[in-house]
């Protein structure tokens, strides 16, 4: 995202949402007319466990300023245990990104059920605000992909 | 700065012909009309869709065709699948011409010619055959032996029927691997058909096709009394630059893109068996 002199920096957020809970949660927040920032781009995945660490990195490469991964609450996974694996995987990945000096607040995992439309909207608002404070992603950006 | 061969030209696809279930022939012209560049029969060009891939293809149209170039391309990998899916009017990038050519103006001049092709192997030879037809006075007898898996897999079948077979100055022999309804021509593999036809050993042979066909055809020709110096073929290996610099298409010290793709069999014999 570019910083425009007149406009406040608007971060681009990529949200990976699991099909069964979080995506439905996002839907619910929509039908309930709850506001969340328009710069959150949702990518629907069959299960949070589908998200390969590479997806997270690619999102940053292609211009994301923050990446959030939403899945069913632990214990509620449609495939029984997918989100447990996600949790370990993402904990390690985020820790590694932090180790490499990439701001840790650009990444997050949040459990949002199909009934938590309000939580979805609140999470997105809060996360967007947090990323906005950090400014544009510079440490894990691919300069070639920056929009001219 | 001067033009660099690695910077391609734009070509526009003006016609797409479905030749066989997996071969299409693409007609390419420059955006301003006319050919993108001149070539000699047997030379190749690098075609690319940026972001998809770039690969070497032999130019199937004859240099005597002054309006356009044609490429017969078999669906095989990533790029060719993309090319097969595109529509007329699509622009592609093109650079070349690359490689040597069949020696149509030197060694082949005045000779009796025998073309042997299998499947998509007709692509590079079609350029020579049409070149020879357009300069018919310069060559002796011309015979074409072409075979494919089935009638439907014969590339440029319509042109063969309408033009080549109608041309009294050349002899065309077609064959398919297995009997098929609606086919009353010869059935059998190309190498065997060549032996059956027993062509005169005075002819110079240009052969192209799958490696296994080339191998058996060459053996058959030797049985008939042909020598390796009489037989030409054209090769293909992975290429990136097209000008002998990127270093991958070599057989021994010869680069297929620059020193080839046309080789005479006695020249190939001196090179290591790594193709």
């Amino acid at each position: 995202m570019q910083v425009n002199e007149n406009k406040e920096f608007q971060p681009l957020i990529v949200a990976f949402c699991c099909n069964w809970c979080s995506y439905a949660g996002a839907d619910l927040s929509g039908t309930n007319r709850l506001n969340y920032p328009s710069n959150v781009k949702i990518i629907r995945v069959p299960c949070s466990c589908r998200v390969n660490p590479m997806f997270i990195l690619r999102a940053f490469q292609r211009g994301a300023d923050g990446v959030i991964l939403c899945g069913c609450h632990p214990g509620d996974c449609h495939y029984t245990s997918g989100n447990y694996f996600t949790r370990r995987r993402m904990t390690l990945l985020f820790s590694m990104l932090d180790f490499l000096g990439i701001e840790r607040d650009r990444t997050r995992v949040e459990w949002v059920s199909a009934a938590e439309g309000a939580k979805f909207a609140a999470t997105m608002n809060e996360f967007t605000e947090a990323v906005k404070k950090l400014g544009p992603n510079r440490r894990l950006e691919d300069l070639r992909c920056r929009k001219q | 700065m001067n033009n660099d061969t690695l910077i391609p030209y734009i070509g526009v696809v003006t016609d797409i012909r479905q030749d066989t279930p997996d071969v299409k022939t693409f007609r390419v012209v420059s955006p301003d009309g006319g050919k993108v560049f001149e070539h000699m029969p047997g030379q190749c060009a690098m075609l690319s869709i940026p972001g998809v891939g770039e690969a070497m293809f032999s130019i199937t149209s004859s240099p005597t065709n002054k309006e356009f170039m044609e490429f017969s391309i078999k669906k095989c990998g990533c790029l060719t699948t993309w090319l097969h899916a595109m529509d007329v009017g699509q622009q592609i990038t093109i650079r070349g011409p690359y490689g040597n050519a069949f020696p149509v103006e030197t060694d082949l001049k005045g000779k009796d010619l025998l073309f042997i092709a299998g499947g998509i192997g007709l692509a590079p030879l079609r350029s020579v055959i049409n070149y020879v037809r357009d300069n018919r006075a310069n060559y002796g007898d011309v015979q074409v032996i072409y075979g494919s898996r089935s009638k439907d897999d014969l590339v440029d079948y319509q042109e063969i029927i309408d033009e080549w077979m109608a041309d009294p100055n050349i002899e065309v022999n077609l064959t398919i691997d297995n009997p098929q309804e609606g086919w009353d021509g010869h059935v059998g593999f190309v190498p065997n058909y060549v032996k059956e036809l027993n062509p005169s050993t005075s002819k110079t042979v240009l052969v192209c096709g799958p490696p296994i066909m080339i191998k058996f055809t060459l053996a058959g020709l030797k049985e008939l009394g042909f020598t390796e110096t009489q037989v030409y073929t054209t090769m293909e290996l992975r290429m990136k630059c097209g000008v002998g610099k990127c270093g991958r298409c070599n057989i021994g010290n010869k680069y297929v893109c620059k020193d080839g793709p046309v080789f005479r069999f006695d020249q190939l014999g001196e090179l290591p068996d790594e193709y």
């Binding site: 070639r144 | 391609p8 972001g51 990136k240 021994g252 790594e274």
Partner: protein, 339 residues
Amino acid sequence: MLKISLDKLDKLFEAISASQTLYIPVDREDGAAEYKKYESGMKLSSALNTLRSAKDFFFPQTENLVDFKMEGKNIEVIDVREESEDFVIFGVRACDARSFTILDKVFLAEPVDSYYKNRRDHGTVVTMACARPAETCFCGTFGIDAAAPEGDAACYSDGESLFIEAHNEKGQKFIDSISSLLEEGDTAKLEAVRAKTREILKKLPLAHLTTDNFGGDKLNEYFNSDKWGELSESCLGCGTCTFVCPTCQCYDIKDFNTGHGIKRYRCWDSCMYSDFTKMAHGNPRLTQLERFRQRFMHKLVYFPANNNGEFGCVGCGRCLSKCPISMNIVKVMKALEVK
């Protein structure tokens, strides 16, 4: 010969870098040397050779060849080439200097590679004679005299002063640009230093390695040698030897989709990689044996066959010290020679 006192080297570097970009080898924290753009205060490394070769200046690991903009069915080709700035590479060793001659034979042959030529035209190579060759050095095998390097201009040190001499017009122009710092000097001591270096070169463990048994006419002799299996057995198929080699020039062309256009890159490639010759319908070099053989046959047989007997190796010794499993051209030469 013109000279400058060694303690005035920084003045010399300041003077050069005032008019054009200067690159000198400097020591890194881990003890290795690498070329860096000169900035005030940098010290010239005394290391024998830089970890990466100097070929990067003319043939960088990755370079943007051309850009494309795709719109509907249309493609726009954008030429991204820019005239290179003038630059000087200082302190190139004799082996690396010779490698440029070898790269020239590839890239300046028709059709000329304009990317390479552009940088070659604008770069001045100032070499530095070696005083302390290492055990891995075998430049002598390829007729290179480490005490008298090639290049546009050459430098020699006698321990007190740095002597500079031009080898061609470009070198002369370089010396003219710094002539105010130079003075005429007596080379008697320098000759003694050189003679000593040559003595050491003769004593190096690889001094007796010769190319007598190699060359363009040896194709059939070596191609089917039964040694290749044994030699390539431990090869990891990585590209370390290729990438530290000053003469390896194979490249790949890769497209990158930026989301708003396509950038086409040229990047170093290695014949040791499994996908080097892979095509949609097969691969002529299926196992590591063939890939390994290709690299060494190219340097010892194919290259001389195409270039009047010049070998594709300069004996810099980088592959000897960098190969993860210590398999290298010297071992290959020695193994093949044994009849």
